[in-house]
Subunit: 336 residues, 2 copies
Amino acid sequence: MPVSIITNHAIRLVARPVGEPNRGDFSFTDETLPPIQDGEMLVKVEYLSLDPAMRGWMKEGKSYIPPVALNDVMRAGGIGRVIESKHAKFAVGDYVSGMVNVQTYCITDGRGFVKVDPSLAPLTTYLNVLGMPGMTAYWGLLDVGQPKPGETLVVSGAAGAVGATVGQVAKIKGCRVVGIAGGKDKCDYVVNTLGFDACIDYKSEDVQKALKANCPNGVDIYFDNVGGDILDAVLTRINLRARIVICGAISQYNNTEAVKGPANYLSLLVNRARMEGIVVFDYAPKYKEAAMEMSGWLSAKKMVSKEHVVEGIDTFPETLMKLFKGENFGKLVLKV
Amino acid sequence: MPVSIITNHAIRLVARPVGEPNRGDFSFTDETLPPIQDGEMLVKVEYLSLDPAMRGWMKEGKSYIPPVALNDVMRAGGIGRVIESKHAKFAVGDYVSGMVNVQTYCITDGRGFVKVDPSLAPLTTYLNVLGMPGMTAYWGLLDVGQPKPGETLVVSGAAGAVGATVGQVAKIKGCRVVGIAGGKDKCDYVVNTLGFDACIDYKSEDVQKALKANCPNGVDIYFDNVGGDILDAVLTRINLRARIVICGAISQYNNTEAVKGPANYLSLLVNRARMEGIVVFDYAPKYKEAAMEMSGWLSAKKMVSKEHVVEGIDTFPETLMKLFKGENFGKLVLKV
């Protein structure tokens, strides 16, 4: 069989961004791929997941996974189709999800990859409710947040990938759900499409007052995707034994100065409350359980999975910035 | 029986302190006491417990208990002797512990009071290891900190009442115990008398470097009595699944500006760690259990209870300030 010559277009991290990442922090390279070895497969990348966590992967220093090395292809999860395989578990034509990175083709030994079924859900759903954001939302909420019927949950980044799923699952679990998002359009979407009880527009409202008005019984669970002033505002409204899930702090990721710590953290003491961090990878053995339950809810129209798809791999630096500017509406996905 | 006329000398809160409390925030009054009613007793106050929490009680606003009202006698726990009783459960001659407040005599219906036995331990021990600080340390450590043998515990305010007991109990539970205290004398005492493995002098050492040197396996539990920069330094050294017990923040109580939030709180995310507040009153049903176990350890010389006793009720404002200046050496007690 003649070996076809395939050119891979990749976006590499060439500088550690200071503040907001920009085009100059990346290079755009074209390279002929080597033939695959036994145990490997070649994946044509179709969709890339763009996530706030990517900003952390660009930084030097200790974190939950090592940073992307300079000149390496930028790390990204995504979905692709197997076009050549010497791997026992994956065949040509399979759709797979895994760390494909920001490139048009990916050669992998299949570690961390799973098959996805395009007949059960659109491919992009596997980057959203049935992917990392969904797993983060589901396990962060259920394992750390421990929602009980009748409790009030507040979630920031409510129109984003994780926030949308957190709120929808909390509604299914019987909570009063209040979102926080930026702008009237997003807030309308959060209430009307996602079915939250209310949504606070942090761009036009006093968050502390709005929390008081919308959470008459206080806040039992706060799922924090943003940090900064919003975390501080929620801390003033928490109930006894409240649980604060620290999932992210998008307001702080591009800081060139020190992160703003929550000045109201002593509310944890007064209220015997808990603030706890989560990292989705810890729940890998339980992804399937969550995906099964949520695909049932999706089929039953009890929840929705909305993606914001932008086309063109070379738009990566600018498209990523949409997350930090709050310009995405649903899970941000790059179509390769 | 002729009713004796008793004059009560009381120290009242007359102004809400701004920054450090000072003498002008209090009045010193003498009043003839009314006769006691059925169900009441008259207690001659002997020792008062001086605690960092008192600063919070002077502030207006929502907390775990209401603030002291202006012109009321300043709230304080203490030990006294019953000198007159119309109460079924307490007899003349009994020694009792409870909220006696900053005064020479206390009339009470006995709610929240318990008898203490001066033949089992010195009276001041009932304000320390066998009192609120001991209960705070014991339950905060065991319930929230959840120490396991071989883990590393760090405690700030290590020479103070709560810190000393936290570290001693953690040693008994098989932890490596590292204290943080101010000054060489305190650090020597923490290591030599209390038996900690090491003690960092935050006044002369770089806390972050010293933590690295003294906690080669990282920090599994941090029991925080101080907040501020020390909390931030410890956050850089915590292990996966670490527990941070928020017991107090003495460095922040006299702030006239905003509390300094922990800028490194995202270490909770990276390490899937937990920060949780405790208030001792929640453990009231279990005080006896802790006191039984710790009095056994005291008798067996497995731990010590050291009090710093100052004489003279009228020194209250200045003596209280010793806590915030770090001048106390062991549990601070005022002898009336």
